[in-house]
């Protein structure tokens, strides 16, 4: 008899159900999509019932690959920072406001004023932002009081699905640390913050370690999903936390970079990283007692494809691989061109929604290839700033690169050179979040001995060594990069005032 783990990854565009066996091998996966309604006023909503339907459909489908009686555990990774209020019967009271719903700017400011930005950062590891759950709850209280009054619990995407499977309300430390209401050091909800926010603390579910079995699949859920009744459900973690596990960052150090349309760098630490300038933020690690500070940027891979598709005259869109090939024709330093990648403003390290992107240092011999390379170098230099803050003096000799953007050889080379570290690339680049969820399920139910299982699940397939001789060049570029941003901030501010 075999043993399988079912990992659900509730992303922005759909749910991916993946099966792993007891050796950690990926057996099958399938995706069921759902849509996001973007509306004026920076609103972005999803229907929680669509989440559930996607989980049901993808479960039914993926289970056709095995004998479903062999399922031994279910767990999740999920999009974070959402706000979904359910009533006493567990029915959604409204469409879920997802992480990129920024309607609660006013509430974020009010919360910051009430408790103090620094204090909020000190408790939660995160700066005040309209992106977080608590600010969204404040918005509901103010603008939809009749809904707010009926809220029994506020749930994240994976927590809602977990509730539908088991009938139990819970969240995990990692997801909780993305709500702006969680005390990162004490690992519990913060009464001080709830008081400042004027929100009832009872609305938030109990927070437990990510490996906790919160319940068992009940009869009705079994009928809908095809998962046998009684299978243990492990609460899992947020997608950033699960990616951290999948990227092998399961003990102190071990930095990694996840490169997709956005990108982040993260590392595992034993304490929250509280930067005096608040340039990075910290989540509770899915492994109890650890933390994973993060620096995240808005436009990484998306900057690259945006640039090329906007500026390439011919109608057919250039592929990622075409662009990589072109960038390879330039040389380190991109012929003197600097790119500041702030096409959507920036989060880490500047936290400036007004920032804009630019190319600097162009001349008559600047080529399209130089500009392509400058975009890659700009993304890498921006990530390097956050990486330095988090790793500090802890000089890890290597960093792992995951995500869809990791597959270009030129990206790997530039990242290794600019980070000044050996870059390791695992065999599977885009499965890290699902793998993280499977690890939590496996460790939580005893199928996997411990988190070092990840090395077996996703071994390093390639190591890219930095070119030592390029160090002086890139150190100079890195200095210019920061100076360029600093010298343009007044102009960014002036633009916004217009």
């Amino acid at each position: 008899m075999s043993t399988y783990i079912l990992a659900h990854d509730l992303g922005t565009s759909g749910n991916k159900a993946t099966l792993f066996d007891e050796e950690g091998t990926m057996i099958a996966s399938c995706v069921s999509s759902y849509s996001t309604a973007f509306m004026s006023g920076n609103r972005a909503e999803q229907d929680a019932l669509h989440w559930w339907r996607a989980v049901c459909d993808s479960s039914q489908q993926v289970l056709t690959h095995i004998d479903r009686k062999d399922i031994s555990a279910v767990s999740f990774s999920g999009q974070m920072m959402a706000c979904l209020g359910v009533d006493a019967q567990g029915d959604p009271l409204h469409k879920a406001m997802i992480y990129c719903d920024l309607r609660s700017e006013v509430q974020a400011r009010r919360l910051a004023d009430a408790i103090g930005t620094e204090r909020l950062y000190e408790i939660t590891g995160n700066r005040p932002s309209a992106a977080y759950t608590l600010e969204k709850v404040m918005w509901l209280k103010e603008h939809e009081p009749q809904i707010y009054r009926r809220i029994h619990k506020v749930l994240q995407a994976k927590d809602y699905v977990s509730y539908r499977l088991t009938g139990e309300y819970a969240t995990d430390y990692n997801d909780a640390s993305g709500t702006q209401a969680f005390d990162l050091k004490a690992l519990c909800w913060s009464p001080e913050i709830f008081e400042a926010a004027g929100v009832d603390p009872k609305l938030f579910p109990r927070a437990v370690p990510s490996t906790t079995v919160v319940g068992y699949v009940h009869r009705n859920a079994s009928i809908d999903t095809g998962i046998p009744e009684g299978v243990p459900v492990v609460i899992g973690a947020g997608d950033g936390g699960c990616a951290t596990l999948g990227a092998g960052s399961v003990s102190e150090g071990k930095p990694y970079c996840c490169m997709g349309s956005t990108a982040w760098v993260s590392v595992t630490s034993t304490e929250p990283v509280l930067d005096p300038a608040m340039r990075v933020f910290t989540f509770a690690h899915p492994i109890e007692g650890l933390y994973h500070p993060c620096g995240t940027m808005q436009s990484a891979g998306s900057a690259f494809t945006w640039f090329a598709n906007v500026m390439k005259g011919n109608a057919e869109a250039a592929t990622f691989d075409d662009l990589n090939d072109q960038a390879a024709f330039s040389s380190p330093g991109a012929g003197g061109v600097l790119f500041l990648p702030y096409l959507m403003g920036e989060r880490s390290p500047w936290w400036n929604t007004r920032a804009k992107a630019e190319f600097l240092g162009m001349h008559m011999n600047t080529s399209f290839e130089d500009l392509c390379r400058a975009v890659i170098e700009g993304v890498a230099m921006n990530l390097k700033l956050s990486l330095d803050i988090m790793t500090g003096q802890l000089e890890d000799p290597s960093i792992m690169l995951i995500g869809g953007g990791a597959r270009g050889a030129i990206w790997q080379e530039v990242f290794a050179d600019i980070f000044g570290k050996a870059l390791t690339v695992p065999r599977l680049l885009t499965e890290a979040t699902s793998m993280g969820a499977a690890l939590l399920a496996g460790v939580g139910t005893g199928i996997y001995p411990d988190f070092s299982m990840v090395e077996q699940m996703n071994p390093v397939s390639e190591t890219v060594t930095p070119h030592a001789e390029l160090r002086p060049l890139y150190e100079r570029q890195q200095r210019l990069f920061s100076m360029a941003y600093t010298s343009l901030t007044d102009l960014f501010d002036a633009m916004d005032a217009h």
């Binding site: 005259g313 011919n314 992107a357 008559m364 500009l371």
Partner: protein, 491 residues
């Protein structure tokens, strides 16, 4: 002899020469052009053979024009202009001792420029000629010949420029026009308009330089041998002539104080008539075609070359398609600001190390926004020049736009909206040789002296600024200026 009078103008450019014959009202009777080559025997060196290229062009074009001239006309005067300033050493017989060294594109004398500037002092040079030394200057190149080709230098009787050489071949007289005098810093005294021996120890005796004269005055008369070689009537007057750019500005109709020729070529060049001589660190001051006319000249390092770079770097669209895309953007380019300093900048920044910047990109930016930003970059660069001119006490009252860029309605309207200046585009596209024909007519008394070019020049298009847009651009212009100041030390 009841033949009607007509006038010949010939301009020798870098890549070709053009000639025209007009009547005394500017009607074109014949025109022709002749391509030629530039030699570059060494990186940074650019030369042309004085006989094989310059004099050859005059002979061939004269012959063709005379052949094409309708009957009933008689050529009464001739005037030539050429690339300037060039350096051509000739011996006592007026025979070239080496190929002519071309203007600013020839950078061989960079060491001599530094030495002279250091030895004499930048301020002293400026006080004498109103200039700083650059690759455009003759004196460092003369010094270069003295050092590197002593056998040439020893035999040198006169140092001529290209116009001066063809004028010598036509008349036997060694001359250079006063407009071209500023090319001879620091031997030309811009205040007395005479050669000044103060620094001849450092360069060369002023005796080696030809006689200075006004462009519109008679330099001499076509002599027998020249008449035989060219087919021109013996004895007709030859005017002093000038540099190609000055002749171009005449052809554009520059007449009054405040008139400004704005050349949109691969780079930008302008000549503006001023109230008085105003040596200024940001521009080049010069005397013009006759007393007491003065000008300030200047220009941006890139216009056409910038658009060429852009369309080659982002291929697949024609300029018409790019302009169409730009129309879907809006004034202000949706927040895009571009510094056009892809080849450094000439006036008024004089920053050869300045670089190109595209500022203000977001995920919403379209290709049309960027092209609109490029058009606006040219407008801002010109506005910057106009503002600094204004600070010198000189305002452009009428801008006459010429060159390839003047045929782009998008660019012209954009520059007018940003600068708040009306721009006129002349119908006549013959350029400098047309101005030469006018100088020939005016100098020989057949056209109203220098005032009459207006009657010669028909306006094909006029671009009137939109005052509301001008006001909107005030903000984006200040962003443009700040962007340079914020980034200049970085790159």
């Amino acid at each position: 002899m009841n033949d009607r009078p007509c006038f010949m103008g010939i301009d020798i450019g870098t890549g070709s020469a053009k000639g025209v014959i007009t009547d005394s009202t500017g009607t074109v009777l014949a025109s022709s052009s002749l391509p030629h080559n530039v030699d570059s025997p060494h990186p940074g060196w650019y030369e042309q053979d004085a006989d094989g290229v310059w004099w050859h062009a005059v002979k061939v074009l004269s012959g063709r024009l005379i052949q094409d001239l309708p009957s009933g006309y008689a050529i009464r005067a001739l005037c030539c202009s050429a690339i300037a300033p060039c350096v051509l050493p000739v011996d006592r017989q007026g025979t070239p001792l080496r190929p002519g060294i071309l203007y600013g594109i020839d950078t061989r004398a960079h060491k001599e420029i530094e030495e002279l500037t250091e030895g004499i002092g930048a301020q002293q040079i400026f006080d004498m000629t109103g200039q700083q030394l650059s690759s455009q200057s003759c004196c460092p190149k003369i010094l270069w010949i003295a050092r590197n080709e002593p056998q040439v230098y020893e035999k040198t009787h006169k140092m001529l420029t290209a116009t001066g050489y063809v004028n010598f071949r036509l008349t036997g007289r060694y001359t250079v026009d006063i407009y071209d005098g500023i090319g001879y810093a620091p031997l030309f005294n811009i205040h007395t308009r005479k050669w000044d021996p103060t620094y001849e120890q450092q360069v060369c005796p002023v005796d080696l330089l030809p006689e200075l004269l006004w462009s519109s005055s008679v330099c001499g008369y076509v002599h027998a041998q020249a008449a035989e070689e060219t087919g021109l009537p013996q004895g007709i007057p030859v005017m002093g002539g000038t540099a190609d750019a000055a002749a171009e500005s005449l052809a554009a109709g520059v007449t009054e104080v405040g008139d400004m020729m704005m050349m949109y070529g691969s780079s930008n060049f302008f000549i503006m008539r001023t109230h008085q001589l105003r040596p200024a660190a940001s521009f080049w001051a010069a005397h013009f075609m006759q007393e007491p006319q003065t000008v300030l000249t200047g220009g941006m390092a890139t216009v056409g070359s910038l658009f060429k770079w852009f369309s080659e770097t982002f291929p697949g669209r024609s300029f018409a398609e790019w302009e169409e895309l730009a129309r879907s953007s809006q004034p202000g380019a949706n927040g895009i600001t571009i510094l056009p300093y892809f080849a450094g900048e000439r006036t008024p920044l004089f920053d050869p190390d300045a670089k190109g910047v595209i500022f203000g990109l977001s995920l919403r930016t379209t290709p049309g926004d960027i092209y609109q930003g490029l058009l606006e970059a040219v407008g801002f660069g010109i506005r910057h020049n106009l503002e600094v001119l204004h600070q010198q006490g000189e305002d452009a009252k009428r801008i006459i736009a010429i060159g390839g860029g003047s045929s782009s309605a998008s660019l012209m309207q954009c520059v007018s909206n940003i600068t708040g200046c009306v721009q006129q585009v002349p119908k006549q596209k013959l350029g400098a040789c047309y101005g030469d024909a006018f100088l020939a007519a005016a100098g020989s008394g057949y056209a109203e002296r220098m005032g009459g070019i207006e009657q010669w020049v028909d306006i094909a298009a006029e671009y009137v600024p939109d005052p509301a847009l001008k006001q909107r651009y005030d903000k984006t212009y200040s962003r443009f200026r700040t962007l340079y100041e914020s980034t200049k030390d970085l790159l």
